[in-house]
Symmetry: C2
């Protein structure tokens, strides 16, 4: 409970990922559709830069699918900026119906799951799932002014400047959305906002174990079980939590946060994070492999830490969530 099987296997019609310069210098730089060397993308604020990043990624995904953005029936998007303005300002230039979602860094899985529901149920022909994050919008909103140059803890993660967009519809080619699982909020009492991998690992364990049970499958059934941004600290915790339930995903587990950067060389401590981290690696690396038949079946399990700067200043712990979609080649 509560897992979803899609009856008609909606397809991911087209997809795109754009990333910043630091991400380009990481482990997956050569896979992105485009690199933006200017972190401001020519805009006068970081927030405008993030909106432009998201809008351009969506446009590129449409272009790659030989569509115009205005031919979409619906855009599902969200991001980390207060009131999700990264997304609303990105979509404002279009005439497309818009559903705002908030799942923090789990947004890409949540929006893909809902896009799958809308397409599978016949409510829309084509829906886009889009998200983004930007180092500079996140850093100043959640942590310190950029110019403060604050020290980062060893468990801290680096918010990626990246965006991913995928257009879901009925199309006769892989990759297919075959199912999904809506996450439950888990909170084991972690209050350290510089250790979000630890806060999110229980949510990932909960969703993955529920999905494997509901589908009566083992980890080995999948080419990869992709988590969002647990990073170097949260990833081994996830493995351990699942081992405690008799589930061993270690052979197929891939965490986008842990893998995005060469952490030692790039000084990113416990790895990458942000909605754009897993969204961009899904669209740049995994979806092409599924489309090409190089992978047959993956679980995309994006994780989100549902805190705010106010909640953590008030001493609250960090509720977390993990939404899951199964994608087949």
């Amino acid at each position: 409970m509560h897992c979803i099987r899609f009856r008609s296997a909606p397809t991911i019609h087209s997809f795109a990922a754009i990333a910043g310069q630091k991400e380009a210098e990481g482990n997956f730089g050569r896979f992105f559709d485009r690199i933006e060397p200017d972190p401001a993308l020519g805009e006068k604020s970081w927030e405008r830069a993030e909106s432009r990043l998201q809008a351009e990624t969506l446009r590129l995904a449409a272009d790659k699918g030989l569509l115009k953005v205005d031919e979409l029936d619906c855009i599902l998007a969200g991001d980390l900026i207060n009131q999700c303005t990264g997304s609303t300002f990105a979509v404002r230039g279009t005439d497309v119906p818009f559903l705002g979602v908030y799942g923090a860094c789990s947004t890409m899985a949540e929006s893909l799951l809902l896009a799958g529901v809308l397409a599978d149920g016949g409510y829309v022909q084509r829906a886009a799932a889009v998200t983004s994050s930007h180092f500079s919008t996140a850093e100043r909103q959640f942590r310190f002014p950029l110019s403060y140059g604050g020290q980062r803890t060893p468990t801290a993660q680096w918010t990626c400047t990246a965006s991913g967009a995928a257009i879901v519809g009925k199309h006769a080619a892989a990759p297919y959305l075959t199912g999904g699982c809506i996450g439950r909020i888990c909170d084991l009492g972690v209050t350290d906002t510089t250790n979000m991998g630890a806060a999110m690992a229980p949510a990932a364990a909960d969703t993955i174990s529920r999905y494997l049970k509901a589908t009566d499958t083992a980890a080995g059934h999948y080419d990869a079980i992709i988590t969002g941004d647990l990073g170097k600290v949260g990833s081994p915790l996830l493995i351990e939590l699942l081992q405690g339930q008799g589930i061993d995903i270690s052979a197929v587990h891939f965490d986008c946060g842990a893998e995005m950067f060469d952490c030692d060389k790039q000084d990113t401590h416990a790895g990458g994070s942000g909605c754009g981290c897993s969204a961009s690696l899904l669209c740049a690396y995994f979806l092409p492999k599924l489309a090409a038949g190089e992978m047959r079946r993956v679980l995309f399990c994006a994780t989100g830490a549902l805190l705010s700067a106010v909640s953590s200043q008030q001493g609250e712990s960090i509720p977390s969530i993990c939404h899951l979609v199964e994608i087949t080649g």
Copy 2:
């Protein structure tokens, strides 16, 4: 485009609304299920108070439907607090899968529409749509510290301390969800954050006119066309914008923001606002009338201003949206 017809007419199984003392003294005070005279609800912060308000409203809606919250398959919720912590902290105590939505004050219509899709498509048995707002969390986040005692402009609205919750499922009794319309983002360039009714009116006009055209119905086909919180300034603008398209809704239009308070006596200027404004009046006033057969058919069109404190300080205009659900008795 893009309007949805539900094939199986999912029902609103049960519903509840809780409001604060000022709302109790307004025009609809006697309709709320419960009044909370303590604006802090016994909690130590306004944010905790809002989460408790939302959690209690959800529990009351479940109680009224002879359900436990943990029997739900999914909760869809969102609110105005940064990163939607009003909702995530409200839901954290449950074991129910959670989908966070962000539509600002349009949240109740967005979450009802998605709950309808999930239930109609057979993806869940029962999904709750919930939202809340709280005067004190909104005021200090979007405007001034409460203790500052800032003057409010004549066009300003008063964020309601209120919450509404509705549980959607398959049940053999009215009210039914019969259709809906996903809003598009409209932005005519209004930058005055103390006049959000004017910013949101074009979004309401766009959605209502699209839905009437798609369903080939006239305004008189409905007992009420309920908008969210356009208030005393935005409501006549909506009427005027639609008249310009040859649509006259004036005989059946009801704006929750304009009607919530006795504005002159209660010093609420242009009226009420906040996600909880329209959500609470829907659940307290309209759904009971539809359930009792006193109304046959309404359009619930909640409007949202998709700005943030940062976007307005950066001089951006206010993108707005209006989602619509049709509910029948």
